[in-house]
Structure formats: structure tokens, C-alpha cells
């Protein structure tokens, strides 16, 4: 667990809470030191504050995402849609708004490190996409597509039941692990990110379809 936060007290407190829950953590206080620590420490999850000295949290997030699909949970003091969406678009999987309860944070982290091991078909097909569930690999017309674990989970969730329309709330529960309704902007942003990777034309999606007023579903070609 890599904790990047400029507030020393909070970082220390986070380490204590995480240790109680059985996670090892490594604390970095500056944005520009984050990448170095990321390379040497190889964390399973990154907890990232958005406002950092040295380098902006958004930039750190983008850099990590550029080379790794490791789950990133943002810690943010801002609740504006613009700030949240900006953070999610830069690659974060989830976010927690300060002040948060320790249980809330731990639940978010556990949801990210848990592997989606639900039984089901080993290989799914949506349109030109072929999904190897066990091998965590997606190919489009034979070419591999690189997805983060979260995007993979989202795609698999939709592809398992191509006949079903998933509301944003259901997706939040199944992919993010939220028990109660949370922020549907999470779903919107990640569907956009997923589309930009798997669709040939993200403006006219064929794989992840929007059902207006309800939610999303997988493309009509479905399982074969």
C-alpha cells in the first residue's frame, strides 16, 4: 500500500489504521517522490491525495496509470463534480471524500484488492472483443487491449449478462463494492474510459451501450 499525502499526521494515522487491518504501507509526502516510491515499493493499491507539494496528485495519477493498472484510490477534500471527474478521468479507480471513516476507507481498499473470482464462462465475447476471464486478458480482433483491473471487472460484469441492462447503482455494487448508493459519476467516467479503449468509435459505442434513463448494457452481439 502506497500512501501519498502531504499531511504527516494524516499519513501516520492512515498507516496505523491500515496496519490494524493487515495492510503494509509506505508513506510519501511529496508528489514528485511518488513515482520513485512506486517503482521501488511496488504497491498493490495507491492512496493518493489530490493536493500535493512538488507534483499535483492528478499528474501523479496519470503517470502511474501510464505504466500500471494498479488500483488507485483518491483522497480528496473537494466534492465539486469538476474535481471528482478530473481525478477519475486521470485514471483513479475510486475516491474517498475527507473526512472519511476508517471503515469506509478499508471497504474501498478491500473492494479494489479483491479479485473478481465469480464463477462463469472462461471466455466471453462481445462484438469484436474476446475476454479471457481467468487470464485477465482482452483481445480485439486478435490484438490485445490493455485494461486496468477495474475496467476489466466492469467489462466482464456487463459481458456476463448481455441481455440485462445494468443500472449505475447495480454496477456500483457489483464492480466497486458499494453497499449503498454512491456517486454514479464513478460509473459514467469509467464507462467513458472503457469505451475509449475498446470501442472503434467511442462516439458511437457498439460494445458498451447507454440505455437512456436506466443505465448500460453490453453490445447486442453478446455471447456466442
Amino acid at each position: 500500500m502506497l500512501v501519498v499525502d502531504d499531511d504527516a499526521s494524516l499519513s501516520e494515522m492512515l498507516s496505523i489504521v491500515l496496519r490494524q487491518e493487515g495492510f503494509d504501507s509506505y508513506v510519501v509526502e511529496r508528489g514528485d517522490e511518488a513515482m520513485e516510491a512506486f517503482h521501488s515499493y511496488r504497491p498493490d493499491v495507491v492512496l493518493l491525495d489530490l493536493m500535493l507539494p512538488g507534483k499535483d496528485g492528478i499528474d501523479v495519477c496519470k503517470e502511474i496509470r501510464a505504466e500500471s493498472g494498479v488500483p488507485i484510490v483518491m483522497l480528496t477534500a473537494k466534492t465539486d463534480t469538476v474535481d471528482v471527474v478530473l481525478g477519475l478521468e486521470s485514471g483513479a479507480d475510486d475516491y474517498v471524500v475527507k473526512p472519511f471513516k476508517p471503515k469506509e476507507l478499508v471497504a474501498r481498499i478491500r473492494a479494489r484488492v479483491r479479485r473478481n473470482e465469480a464463477p462463469g464462462a472462461a471466455t466471453l465475447t462481445v462484438g469484436p472483443l474476446s475476454i479471457d476471464v481467468a487470464g485477465h486478458a482482452v483481445t480485439r480482433d486478435g490484438h490485445p487491449v490493455s485494461l486496468t483491473p477495474l475496467e476489466f471487472d466492469l467489462l466482464v460484469c456487463l459481458a456476463r449478462k448481455p441481455w440485462q441492462v445494468f443500472t449505475r447503482e447495480v454496477l456500483l455494487e457489483q464492480v466497486w463494492g458499494y453497499r449503498h448508493s454512491a456517486d454514479t459519476r464513478l460509473v459514467n467516467v469509467h464507462v467513458q474510459r472503457l469505451r475509449s479503449k475498446v470501442e472503434s468509435d467511442p462516439e458511437n459505442p457498439e460494445i458498451v451501450l447507454t440505455v437512456r434513463g436506466v443505465g448500460y448494457k453490453a453490445g447486442s452481439s453478446g455471447q456466442q
Binding site: 499531511d7 499526521s9 494524516l10 494515522m13 496505523i16 473537494k78 475527507k98 476508517p102 448508493s181 434513463g213
Partner: protein, 535 residues
């Protein structure tokens, strides 16, 4: 083709009317030209009458002189005839012949007739007359005049000609005089007919000249007026355009000031006004920006340490079993008050964001029934604690409105928890309804209710119906105020109704589409059961 014309004519007319309504210039030019045309016509007509009168008068004078001259010569010739000649007809013919000859040279014609009984037509009076002349040219009134008088007389007439290749009729003057034939002492009446051709020609020349001058004058006036109004209207139009741009938010727009005249001073004042406006708006914007920034900073600065405290509190709370009783109790209190502090802080920050104008909507199609059910599910534990029940009455069809789901959910949550707080363990009914204009949610409780005048105050910040009342669910006193701000952000209504001991109803109405004005709500504000009591 005709259809096309039918369609385009009203179109052209409409455009013309629009232009007429909008253009001061067109109106000023047209009215000036119309007035000038009336004056020019009157003056022209008067001039023409004067000229005509003068010309005719002079002509009549000349004609009378000429007639007198001819008569004198004729009398002289008659007197020169020897007294032996007694044939009156020959004498009369000899009298007429030189006059006729002179008339052919000088451009007049002549008729000679006998006197006869009154009423005898000219043709029965043995008339002798110039070739081609039509006898009808001599008016009857003049003939009758000579039945009773021998005095010379004249009048206007139309000279007509008879026979082939006769000239067109012309206006003219006819002068009559009597001559005595010495042979038998009888008298003859001589009618001289002088055409007024030349007068007519002169007159039409003058008319043409006046007409041309009048048209030119009108054109000049039109052009002058157009130029003059343009000088006035152009700056006004410029000012209008600049004002429009200012109104559209382009605050740097200014009028160009040239000279020191009234228009320049208008422009100067206008620019001063614009500058003042711009400064005020800039100040407000700056203020809003600073406040937004402040709220954002405070938010961040407060949230981070609060998170640490929160985490620490939780750790202590988790470990309270191993503490002595006093410390354990302290840990519990710390945890509980931290919860309250956190809610209060979040509410305060939220309300500051509204005050700073930093709140924005994140619109989506929201099914209000889903929101209500979700909120009721989430508040079930609270309702159970207060031993009350929340019942949802919603139609099977979805009640969809374009809204920010987080804000709507917060409003509904505030309304429901508020109702649970005040329900006194009686059942709470949440009704959802929608029509094609608006969607609404009403939360009805049968608890303490609201006193008269309180229904407007419930939305005030930190307002409490009874200050002595114990705080129960830990509401911050900001919930309804935030809900009202959220509703206003949607362009919706949030209203309260209540009566002491009969409970209260809060109604949220949202337009189906964001930005649409609300006219009515699908649900009544005063609940049906309460209305019956009044009746």
C-alpha cells in the same frame, strides 16, 4: 405562380411593416415628404391659377381691342358705301368678307347673324360664317343676350370645327357686337371667335415647369431629411448595438466619442455608465471568486485534520473495551460528537458554496420513485429507532425529471429525516407524482405540525420550532435550508404546510426538464385529509 405571389405578398408586406415600425428614419422621411408634397401642391396650384388668370385677362383685353378695331373698320366701310346701294344682303356680305379675311390672317373666325325673335336658333337667323366653323361654338347665352340688348358682350366657349380634317376643339373667347346695315337700317350680330391656343400652350408649359420643380423639390427634401435623420439615428443605432452587447455580457464594449455635441455627451454618459457597471460586476465577480476560493481552502484545510481526528477517534473507539470506564465513556462521546461535528461542517461548507454561487447542477434523468425508495430504505433504521413507519405511495409508472440525483436525494433525505424527527411515532406518508410538466414528492407527517407563519420560517438556517426541544436525530439545523437551495438550483419549488398538532407536509416540485418554468405541481400542498377538516 399565383400561389407564389399570394405567399410572397403578405411576406413583403410584413417585412415592410416591420421596417416601418423599427425605422425612425423611414417614418421621419415619409412624413416630411408627405407634408411637403401637400404644401408644394397647394403653392403650385395657387401659382398656376394666378398665371392663368393673368394670361387670360391680357388676352381678353387684346381681343376686345381687336374686335373694336374690326368693328370700327367695318363701320367706316359701311359708311363709305354710296347711299344708292339698297341691297342689304350684299352690303352685309361686303361687310363680312374683309373681316373674315382679316380673321384668317389674325387667327380668329367670325359668324354674322340676323336679329330675330327671341329663342330662334342661330341656324335660323341666316348665319354667314367662316369656313369649317361649327355654329354650336357660339353659346346660346350670348345669342339670347343680343335678343334684348345691342351692347357688346363676351364670354368663354369651346370653339369646334366641322368638316373633314377639322382641327381639334379648342377653348376660346367669343365676342359679340351688333352692326347696323345702312341699306335697310336692319342690324346684324357679329360673333368673333378667338381661340386661346397660345394661352393654353403657355399654361401647360408653366404647369410642366411647376410639376418638375415640385418633384425635384420633394426629392431634395427627402434626401435632406434622410441625411439629417441619419446623422441623428446612426449614433443611436450604434449605442443600441453597444448596449445590446453590454447586456450580453461583453462588458468591455464602449461607444466612440467624437466632438462635443449632444450625441457625444450621450456617448460619454453611456460609457461612464458602462464603466461603472463593469466595475461593479467585476467587484462582485471578484468577491464571489474570493469567497469560492476561501470556501474551497477552508474546506480542504478543515477536512484534512478532521480526517486524522476521525481516524484517531475510531481507533480509540475500537479499543475502548480495554479502557477504564471514564476513558471508555470519553472515547464514545468523542466518537459521537465527531459525527455531529462532521455533519455540521459538511452542511456549513455546502451552504457557503451556495452563498458563493459555486454550486452547479449535474443533470441526468432521475426517477423520483427510485430516489424515494432508496432514501426510505436508508432511513429505515432511524425510523425504527423512533418507532415510526415510512410509507411510500408512488405510481407504477416512473416519475422522471431532469435533475441532479445527489441533490434530489439529499433533499428527500432531509425531508424524510425531518419528518421522522417530528412525527411523534405516527406514520409518515411519502407521495410521488408526475405529469408532463413537473414531478413532485410530498412528505406528510401527523406529528407536532407547524404554527401559523412557521411554514415560511422552517427553511431559515438554524431555525427550530421550539428552542427548548431536545435535539434528537442530531440534525444540524441546516438541512432544510440546504434543501431549499438545492431546489432553487433546479428551478423547482420547496414548500411547507402545517397546522399545530395535525402534522405537516413538505412538497418538492421539480420541472420535468431543467430550465422550464414551473406553473403548477402535480400534488397539492395542503394534504387532502387536512383540507376536509377545513371544509
Amino acid at each position: 405562380m399565383s400561389q407564389l405571389v399570394e405567399q410572397t405578398v403578405p411576406e413583403v408586406l410584413r417585412r415592410g411593416l416591420t421596417f416601418w415600425r423599427r425605422s425612425i428614419q423611414a417614418r421621419v422621411v415619409v412624413s416630411t415628404v408627405l407634408l411637403s408634397a401637400i404644401v408644394v401642391t397647394a403653392v403650385g396650384w395657387f401659382l398656376l391659377r394666378q398665371v392663368e388668370q393673368g394670361l387670360v385677362d391680357r388676352r381678353v383685353d387684346a381681343v376686345l381691342t381687336e374686335v373694336a378695331n374690326e368693328n370700327d373698320q367695318a363701320s367706316a366701310r359701311l359708311n363709305a358705301v354710296p347711299g344708292t346701294d339698297t341691297n342689304a344682303t350684299t352690303q352685309a356680305n361686303e361687310l363680312l368678307a374683309p373681316i373674315d379675311a382679316s380673321g384668317q390672317i389674325r387667327g380668329f373666325t367670325v359668324v354674322m347673324a340676323r336679329t330675330a325673335a327671341p329663342g330662334t336658333p342661330l341656324t335660323d337667323r341666316g348665319p354667314e360664317y367662316s369656313a369649317q366653323l361649327d355654329l354650336a361654338s357660339v353659346p346660346d347665352s350670348l345669342i339670347r343676350h343680343f335678343d334684348s340688348s345691342r351692347k357688346e358682350a363676351w364670354t368663354y366657349t369651346t370653339i369646334r370645327y366641322a368638316g373633314k380634317r377639322a382641327p381639334a376643339p379648342t377653348p376660346g373667347i367669343v365676342v359679340g357686337s351688333t352692326v347696323r346695315i345702312p341699306a335697310d337700317g336692319s342690324s346684324r350680330t357679329l360673333y368673333y371667335l378667338f381661340p386661346l391656343d397660345d394661352v393654353q400652350d403657355t399654361l401647360s408649359l408653366v404647369t410642366r415647369a411647376l410639376l418638375t420643380a415640385g418633384i425635384l423639390l420633394l426629392l431634395l427634401i427627402a434626401a435632406l431629411t434622410w441625411l439629417l435623420t441619419r446623422q441623428i439615428v446612426t449614433p443611436i443605432r450604434l449605442a443600441r448595438r453597444v448596449a445590446e452587447r453590454l447586456a450580453a455580457g461583453q462588458l468591455q464594449e464602449r461607444l466612440r466619442v467624437s466632438g462635443e455635441d449632444d450625441l457625444a455627451r450621450l456617448a460619454t454618459s453611456f460609457n461612464q455608465m458602462a464603466t461603472n457597471l463593469q466595475r461593479q460586476i467585476r467587484q462582485l465577480e471578484e468577491l464571489s471568486r474570493v469567497q469560492r476560493r476561501f470556501v474551497s481552502d477552508v474546506s480542504h484545510e478543515l477536512r484534512t485534520p478532521l480526517t486524522t481526528v476521525r481516524l484517531a477517534g475510531s481507533v480509540l473507539h475500537e479499543a475502548r473495551e480495554g479502557f477504564d470506564p471514564q476513558t471508555r465513556r470519553s472515547a464514545e462521546l468523542l466518537q459521537r460528537e465527531l459525527d455531529r461535528f462532521e455533519t455540521l461542517l459538511i452542511d456549513l461548507l455546502e451552504i457557503s458554496r451556495f452563498d458563493a454561487g459555486a454550486a452547479v447542477l449535474d443533470l441526468d434523468d432521475v426517477n423520483l420513485t427510485d430516489v424515494v425508495r432508496r432514501v426510505v430504505d436508508n432511513t429505515r433504521s432511524l425510523a425504527d429507532q423512533r418507532s415510526t413507519r415510512v410509507v411510500v405511495d408512488a405510481p407504477t409508472t416512473p416519475c422522471v425529471a431532469e435533475a441532479d440525483v445527489r441533490r434530489v436525494e439529499r433533499i428527500v433525505r432531509n425531508l424524510v429525516t425531518n419528518a421522522i424527527d417530528h412525527a411523534e411515532s405516527k406514520e409518515i406518508l411519502v407521495t410521488v407524482a408526475a405529469d408532463d410538466q413537473a414531478a413532485a414528492i410530498a412528505v406528510r407527517d401527523h406529528g407536532v405540525g407547524l404554527a401559523t407563519g412557521e411554514s415560511a420560517m422552517v427553511f431559515n438556517r438554524f431555525w427550530r420550532a421550539d428552542p427548548a426541544r431536545a435535539r434528537t436525530s442530531g440534525g444540524t439545523g441546516l438541512g432544510l435550508a440546504i434543501s431549499l437551495e438545492d431546489t432553487h438550483l433546479h428551478g423547482g419549488w420547496l414548500q411547507a404546510w402545517g397546522r399545530p398538532a395535525e402534522g405537516a407536509q413538505f412538497r418538492l416540485t421539480l420541472p420535468r426538464h431543467a430550465g422550464q418554468p414551473l406553473r403548477h405541481s402535480p400534488l397539492p400542498l395542503v394534504p387532502d385529509d387536512a383540507a376536509e377538516v377545513v371544509a
